[in-house]
């Protein structure tokens, strides 16, 4: 089954065309990496898939589990099991991390016809997941991301992912700004979610996360399009030769 099917997608950020005729297919059970240089459209793709305002789809379609993803408001995408791990998670003063997670999980559960969790059951879940991503319990009682270090913010994203158990995760440069220990924790969190029912899209600039989360497929995003796709070895090739290699190759193609 194809979890995510992007067909000839073109999109603008504001007035600026960014994605051009992008196609991509990711089956359930697979981890795909999308790599590309700065400005290639990686974050635009992530935001378009999550439904952020300020981006306009000008052509093409996106099917999520066979359904029109772009027709859904962001919260419905999330309730249907899509998760965006933010490159820059925002700080939300005045909203407790636990309260936020509980509101999110209960919204998702309600959508799926499950009863809302009471405070006790929820705390059990969150404590267990927090241990998994090695988040200090103190951070659960603080406002969302407020005063968190860069690594703590990224781990908090993975915590949310672990709590919400999405079917399609899109992780936008979740590896950036992490030291090696944090990278391992994040990678463990992602690997823990791998299953035949789930799809994970790793958007990244570097190969280093892929050493810990080995992808089934690697795509190279360049100038708003997928210009190459291959197995995990493509990531290594990119790492060795740099993105200029893709550029030269493209220039050489008639």
């Amino acid at each position: 089954m194809t979890m995510l099917e992007i067909r000839r997608l073109s999109a603008s950020a504001g007035d600026r065309p960014v994605l051009r005729d992008l196609s991509l297919s990711a089956p359930a059970g697979e981890v795909h990496a999308i790599m590309g240089p700065n400005g290639s459209g990686k974050s635009t793709l992530a935001h378009v898939l999550a439904g952020r305002d300020g981006f306009t789809v000008t052509a093409g379609e996106v099917l999520y589990d066979g359904r029109d993803l772009l027709a859904m408001p962001p919260e419905v995408r999330a309730r249907e099991g899509l998760f965006l791990g933010f490159q820059y998670p925002v700080e939300i003063p005045g909203v407790g991390n636990t309260y936020f997670l509980k509101s999110a999980l209960n919204a998702v559960r309600k959508h799926r016809g499950l009863p809302e969790l009471d405070a006790h059951d929820f705390l059990q879940i969150i404590r267990q997941k927090a241990k998994l991503v090695r988040i200090d319990e103190n951070l659960l009682n603080r406002p969302v991301n407020e005063g968190f270090s860069g690594g703590e913010k990224k781990r908090n994203e993975i915590l949310q992912m672990a709590v919400l158990e999405p079917r399609l995760s899109i992780l936008d440069e979740t590896d950036s700004g992490l030291d090696i220990d944090a990278l391992r924790v994040v990678a463990d969190g992602i690997n823990g979610l791998r299953s035949k029912d789930r799809t994970i899209i790793l958007i990244t600039h570097y190969q280093r996360l892929l050493a810990h989360v080995v992808p089934d497929r690697v795509h190279v995003l360049y100038d708003g399009r997928i210009v190459r796709s291959g197995g995990k070895e493509l990531a290594l090739e990119l790492e060795q030769k740099g993105y200029s290699w893709v550029e030269k190759e493209l220039a050489g193609t008639p």
Binding site: R52, V90, A104
Partner: protein
């Protein structure tokens, strides 16, 4: 003749009819009435009223409230969740059945009207000592017309006890009417108390509450003073609160303003003793055609005073908010530490805020900071919440609450805090 003048003359005629039946100090009343006659209602463009037009108020012929025939219909409201000593008033008249003022050791809570009848010498010297009416026509009007209200005397050294609830309910039966509640609080040396002033009224009622509160906090007194204004949205609410603080006295004032078509809240604190401190936590939420105005004055008149002022506003619909906060640091007030901030959250493109902090620093060695902001819900925060499955309305409600929580968290009375949780976010849920 303009509406303002007609309205003034109606009040003057009302005094000729009923003035003789009002309890207490006739001379003071007459003096205040003369002052009101001279001042009239504030004209548009008058400095203190630049952004608040009282014309809608002057266009309505308010009669002096004469109590309600059936105060018992408010039993449910009056027996609210707040566990407190309570004195309640319905349409300006003391409602003894809803009052439970006995048994609070040392603290005396009385109906002002009854004290003025039985023992005027006890209270007359206190009246209008803090709430000057030479420049404020509404304070003058209250002083001329007040019928009843609360007198709270906390003896020196009294320890913190159960909160004291001063409850003013409007029933809104019949023609538009006005009440002039008067509140006097005397906190003795080193005493501690928590006082809640509540104003409640029905949603559609056209009435006018014109309140004056005078608070004298003697040396070392510590007061936690709440004002919760939940008048009906067609009501007019004008209130003036004047406090005087002695040496090392402290007053924390929580001002919650949610109701009223037009609400004007004046607050002034004079820090007259060295080391006195005042904390002002204000929260207002308005929507539709509501207009809310806060004028605050913190007058640092003695050394080493501190003031911390935070007012936050949430506006929806076509509502308007005015905030004008003055801090005066007199030459005698060296080592003053004063801060003031006013933040506003606009939930609608048609809502607007006028905010103006003012500092007048006449001493040399002081620390003063002030600022104001007006903004909207941050779209990136809304998106973050929605991207986790939280619906737009709920996301808005969460963020509005987050904005207000800085003030709500300071509310130490659970019953008051619970009320706020219920009121806030109405707009975010689409009522605006």
């Amino acid at each position: 003749m303009t509406a303002a003048l007609e309205s003034r003359d109606r009040f003057l005629a009302e005094f000729d009819r009923h003035g003789g039946t009002l309890p207490g100090p006739g001379r003071l009343r007459r003096e205040a009435l003369d002052r009101f006659a001279a001042l009239g209602f504030p004209a548009r463009g008058q400095e203190e009223w630049r952004h608040t037009d009282v014309a809608p108020l002057t266009e309505i012929p308010f009669r002096l409230a004469a109590g309600t025939p059936n105060p018992h219909q408010f039993a449910g409201v009056a027996r609210g969740p707040l566990r407190a000593f309570q004195i309640a008033f319905v349409d300006g008249r003391h409602a003894p059945t809803f009052s439970s003022i006995d048994g609070n050791p040392g603290v005396r809570i009385s109906s002002l009207a009854s004290v003025l009848r039985e023992d005027p010498g006890r209270v007359e010297p206190l009246l209008a000592k803090l709430a000057a009416f030479d420049r404020n026509p509404f304070a003058a009007l209250n002083t001329a017309f007040f019928h009843d209200g609360a007198l709270v005397r906390i003896p020196p050294g009294a320890p913190a006890g159960a909160p004291i609830h001063l409850l003013f309910i409007s029933s809104m039966h019949g023609e538009p009417y006005v009440t002039h509640p008067r509140i006097l609080v005397e906190a003795g040396e080193g005493s501690q108390a928590t006082i809640v002033e509540s104003f409640l009224g029905p949603a559609g009622g056209v009435y006018f509450t014109n309140a004056v509160t005078e608070i004298a906090a003697a040396d070392g007194a510590r007061l936690d003073y709440y004002k919760v204004q939940r008048e009906g949205v067609e009501a007019f609410h004008v209130a003036s609160m004047q406090a005087r603080l002695g040496r090392d006295a402290s007053l924390t004032h929580h001002s919650i303003s949610l109701g009223g078509r037009l609400a004007r809240n004046d607050f002034a604190a004079a820090l007259q003793g060295p080391g006195a401190g005042v904390t002002l936590n204000g929260l207002y939420e308005v929507t539709g055609a509501q207009h809310v105005d806060h004028h605050t004055l913190v007058d640092h008149a003695a050394p080493r005073g501190t003031s911390r002022e935070t007012y936050k506003g949430i506006l929806g619909g076509r509502s308007r908010a005015v905030f004008e906060g003055r801090i005066v640091v007199r030459p005698t007030a060296e080592k003053t530490d004063a801060r003031q901030i006013n933040r506003n959250l606009l939930l609608s493109s048609e809502a607007a805020v006028h905010t103006r902090p003012q500092l007048e620093i006449l001493a040399r060695d002081v620390r003063c900071k002030h600022g104001s902001t007006v903004g909207q819900l941050d779209p990136s925060l809304l998106f973050y919440l929605r991207s986790r499955g939280i619906g737009l309305e709920e996301a808005r409600r969460i963020l509005v609450h987050a904005f207000a929580c800085e003030i709500i968290d300071q509310v130490r009375l659970d019953a008051v805090r619970a009320q706020l949780g219920g009121c806030l976010g109405l707009m975010a849920r689409g009522v605006a």
